[in-house]
């Protein structure tokens, strides 16, 4: 079957994807005390820690930093959780894969979709937070306002959200397909990934502003798709600023390329990967 035929099959059997999404969501937090609440608590906790370090302890950030942080965190965690889980997903369904035929691409697809749900939960929390942040900002005395790096605002640019989220989903999907295959071949994939993801976490403007980067790192910043993703997301969600054309084009281009490569690699390899599970 050619790659296009396999994609068509995946679309035809999309209820399989849905089944796996539900089972992913159920199993992810099944035995934990707070269960699905962790979807909401995780990014909040992360944000509070980084805010405490940078704004409170180091005193290097203004009051708007929390919103800036939160967007970066939920966006990055969407990607990180997807690829980490995708790397194990085939192995964790080995019994099913060996027992009955189904389009295996449904598994990493379901991983991304279930993480998308988490991302949407994060957006809901952000919505709530923004209410407080905006009220707080409106009440700020001028001296405090001067410390603000960039005033928070919400407006029509919110409408960019679905498009950018969609593009980022394509990027996550492509990456997940690649990592799903790689995760079967190399047992220490999780360790390698932990390192690479940690590196890219620090190379992405999550807890620092792009202007803080020294000139010589500008090229890495511009090449990193996350930089553009965060910039556009922040523009849409907290700054009411339209996305830059170059940023959008670059992000779309990279996402489509990764998706196509990911699909091609996955569909070529999925038949032989069964033997290594």
């Amino acid at each position: 079957m050619s790659v296009t035929e396999q994609v068509a099959e995946l679309v035809e059997r999309r209820n399989v994807i849905w089944h796996f999404v539900l089972s992913e969501l159920k199993s992810e937090h099944r035995d934990k005390l707070l269960g699905n609440l962790w979807h909401l608590i995780d990014p909040l906790a992360f944000m509070l820690v980084y805010y405490a370090v940078w704004a409170v302890i180091l005193g290097r950030r203004g009051p708007d930093f929390m919103a800036y942080l939160f967007v970066g965190i939920i966006c990055y965690q969407f990607y990180q959780s997807s690829v980490v889980r995708a790397a194990q997903i085939l192995r964790s369904h080995v019994g099913l894969i060996r027992g009955v035929y189904f389009p295996k691409a449904a598994l990493p697809t379901a991983v991304v979709l279930s993480q998308l749900y988490g991302f949407l939960c994060g957006l809901a929390v952000l919505g709530l937070l923004m209410v407080f942040f905006l009220i707080n900002q409106a009440r700020m005395p001028p001296e405090q306002l001067a410390e603000v790096h960039h005033p928070l605002s919400v407006g029509l640019n919110l409408l960019w959200l679905p498009l950018v989220t969609g593009i980022e989903c394509l990027f996550c999907l492509g990456s997940s397909y690649l990592f799903a295959i790689a995760g079967v071949w190399f047992r220490d994939m999780p360790n390698v990934m932990a390192f690479v993801l940690r590196l890219s976490f620090y190379l992405s403007p999550i807890f620092y502003y792009p202007e803080d980067l020294p000139e010589r790192f500008r090229v890495f910043y511009l090449a990193n798709p996350f930089s553009h993703f965060f910039g556009i997301m922040r523009g849409a969600l907290i700054y009411n600023r339209p996305p830059s054309l170059e940023g959008m084009l670059y992000l779309t281009g990279i996402s489509l390329a990764v998706l196509v490569i990911g699909l091609a690699v996955f569909f070529r390899r999925e038949g032989t990967v069964v033997k290594h599970l």
Binding site: L96, R98, G99, Y101, F102, R187, D188, V274, K275
Partner: protein, 261 residues
């Protein structure tokens, strides 16, 4: 009114990697490749450790045929079923299947042991793409054929191997596939189940479906199958009338056993 269902395997070769020293980590891979480059070994070492489970298998079946597959353990029978079911892709050759496939392969392969039999039916159906309403309408029949009674709602963890086989068989049958693949595990069912299963096989054959049955029971093969296939060391050694094929296989087994005694 013969529907166009069946399958065809042409020149199918399939290998397994029985390489216990396959690089499991990136570090090993780099070290190994580095050594290979230095010594100029190339891929010679890797080929030796490949195990060809199927070697040029040619097999076909059409509507109304019930194939009985016999052969020694490790001959490649289960692998061949997995290739027909598209679970494994052959390294060489082609597979084409017309119609929907239902399989009963290894014991509880498709089962989630912590879920109940009932829940597993829904999981299985969802994977196969059966709408929920259809499954619900057939649920009673599935439960009845499985003969599990109250255990239907108990976790599969608690099932015996025979119970798992019966559940698997019941599900596979009620999916109403065009091509039904049954691995030898169905033998662990008790006598009552064997009779029920046999009736189903007869019915499927009358409905012009295709069945492939792997069995070590000569009686079962002779009773239900329209054609016998003897698979040995990954090749089809005989393909023909059931009694002949089974007879030859048994004679050969006795000779081999006698020789090594």
């Amino acid at each position: 009114m013969e529907r166009d269902i069946g399958f065809e395997l042409e020149g199918v070769w399939l290998k397994y990697y029985v390489d216990f020293h396959r690089p499991r980590t990136l570090r090993e891979l780099v070290a190994r490749r580095g050594l290979q480059l230095l010594k100029g070994n190339g891929d010679g070492q890797r080929e030796e450790r490949n195990f060809w489970a199927l070697r040029g298998v040619n097999l076909h079946a059409g509507p109304g045929e019930v194939l009985g597959i016999v052969g020694s353990n490790g001959a490649g029978k289960s692998t061949m079923l997995q290739v027909i079911a598209r679970i494994m892709k052959p390294d060489r050759g082609s597979v084409s299947v017309k119609g929907s496939i239902g399989c009963l392969l290894s014991l509880g392969a498709g089962f989630n042991a912590s879920l109940s039999g009932r829940e597993n039916v829904f999981v299985n159906a969802a994977i196969l793409g059966l709408p929920r309403q259809v499954v619900e309408s057939r649920l009673d029949d599935i439960r009845e054929l499985s003969g599990l009674g109250d255990f239907f709602d108990a976790p599969v963890k608690a099932y015996s191997s025979g119970m798992r086989a019966r559940l698997g068989f019941s599900v596979a049958v009620h999916v109403n596939p065009d091509v039904l693949l049954i691995d030898e595990v169905v033998q662990v069912g008790d006598a009552f189940f064997q009779l029920k299963a046999g009736n189903i096989l007869d019915r499927f054959r009358d409905e012009k479906k295709v069945i492939v049955l792997v069995s070590h029971s000569p009686d079962m093969i002779k009773r239900y199958c329209t054609r016998g296939v003897w698979l040995e060391h990954g090749t089809v050694r005989r393909d023909g009338p059931t009694t002949e094929v089974v007879g030859e296989y048994l004679d050969w087994s006795r000779e081999t056993a006698g020789a090594s005694a």
